[in-house]
Symmetry: C2
Subunit: 285 residues, 2 copies
């Protein structure tokens, strides 16, 4: 997809959020904001939004001198998600259909805002998991996903955010793990998961894990390194989490299942769903 | 007050909202957004936010060719507020302290979001009016306001938004009307009330009403015409509604009571109140 006019204010908001994460220095905030505003005013809208997100967050990192503005936030997100694992694992094990339940929880991982200051209380988590179990996902696509997993030889699992990636681990436990490669971002970008997170959370021991070599908040094929592109080319099934991966790959010539919450108006409209929906989309070229 | 770095993304959001009100033409949306982004990237942050708001919304109007993008919205807001008048008037008349009640409802007028698509249902209005009656306003300032009204010879009442201005009319009914001049904006700016609204709502028959000659979303003295500045200089009491008037006048050398909801982080922090608070502030130089 292209970038839309409606995306432009969002890039400015992201720059403001990013530099606020990086530093308290007001002069730096102004410097970064002015640069971001100018960059966005001149941007080429042909590429997809994650390309512009990459540019904006590189600018934040370069001008602030902070390599990973979201480092502490990402660590919090991971810890908060980790605390939920016993409950989630139990629910998956006891479910009539553990795979479908794990798929639903993986989407829930994209839904939860681990950044909400007081996080979700135990009660809210229960509500969210109930919502996950009853979310109106396309039954036909769910069945296609299950049969595709059974038939696939090479499954690529494209992760999205910290926190959320803990939930991805629970889904991967339900997959034929020897056929799966888990992919994280190649460098710090917003609160997305990187190889450091995967290692810290024990995912690298659970499944073959690589980074994609790119610091875009999505999967820009021409920006990924050779190792990633080889496994991508080889994959006969891709499971892709989150909006960034959807925005960058929804027109790709690959068999992809996208698991996400439609968090913005533009993406929701392209996916043909309501804003805020829990979405399972199949791309079968 | 100066403009803050945190205000910058808001100007971009306002440009996007304004042009979306003006036209469905995507090419125009892009043209306006790029121009607004560039303007904000180069802006002087010394003046107060309403100065930049004026610049941004002028740009929206000029590039879109639409003189009053919010025309239909403003009319809706007025009609929705008008429908509440009988209930509000009755509550004011039956109150132990009609003036204080009208002051509280005037702040409620700044609180209500007349733009919410389904508006507030009758039940919500009741809730809001209860909230208005019990909002934690500074008792000392309330008493100062009442005694200042009794003593003043020339009261200037600076209005803010359409819809809200209907509530202002109810407060003006409680004031010594012959001493009051109601002031509206000098031209279309966002959803702010102009002379057309005051006429349409019968306010020009209730009280001496002028416009300020300026199309800023606030009161920029050097941008207002001579007629306004004369009544401003003469006034020994000013009642000013909304954030824009607060942002432009809170450092003025005049006796002003500001009635508003603190709708953004920057204004709330300058006023020393919680975001979202109902506020009555006295400026007594």
């Amino acid at each position: 997809m292209n970038t839309y006019v409606k995306c432009l204010p969002c890039f400015v908001r992201q720059a403001a959020e990013g530099v606020a994460m990086a530093t308290d220095d007001e002069a730096l905030h102004e410097k970064v904001l002015r640069a971001a505003l100018k960059t966005v005013s001149e941007m080429d809208m042909t590429p997809c939004p994650p390309r512009m997100g990459q540019t904006i967050h590189r600018l934040v990192r370069e001008l602030s001198g902070i390599d990973d503005p979201y480092a502490s936030v990402k660590n919090q997100f991971n810890q908060r998600a980790l605390a939920l694992v016993p409950k989630l694992q139990q629910r998956i094990q006891q479910a009539d259909n553990p795979l479908e339940t794990a798929v639903r929880f993986a989407i829930a991982g994209n839904v939860i805002d681990f950044g909400v200051s007081d996080f979700r209380q135990a009660h809210d988590i229960e509500t969210l998991l109930e919502e996950a179990l009853h979310a109106d996902l396309d039954r036909g696509i769910l069945e296609n996903l299950v049969s595709s997993i059974e038939q696939a030889q090479h499954i690529l699992y494209l992760a999205d955010n910290t926190g959320e990636i803990v939930f991805d681990g629970l889904l991967i436990e339900q997959l034929p793990r020897e056929k799966v490669t888990l992919v994280v971002r190649g460098g710090p970008i917003i609160n997305d998961a990187t190889l450091d997170d995967a290692r810290e959370l024990g995912l690298t021991e659970l499944v073959h894990t690589i980074d994609n070599g790119s610091d875009a908040p999505g999967t820009l094929l021409d920006d990924c390194h050779e190792e990633f592109r080889q496994v991508y080319d080889q994959a006969d099934l891709i499971i892709a989490k989150g909006q960034g991966n959807y925005e960058s790959l929804h027109e790709a010539d690959k068999h992809i299942f996208f698991l996400l919450k439609a968090k913005c108006e533009v993406t929701a409209s392209i996916a043909g769903v309501e804003l805020g929906s829990w979405v399972l989309i199949e791309n079968d070229p």
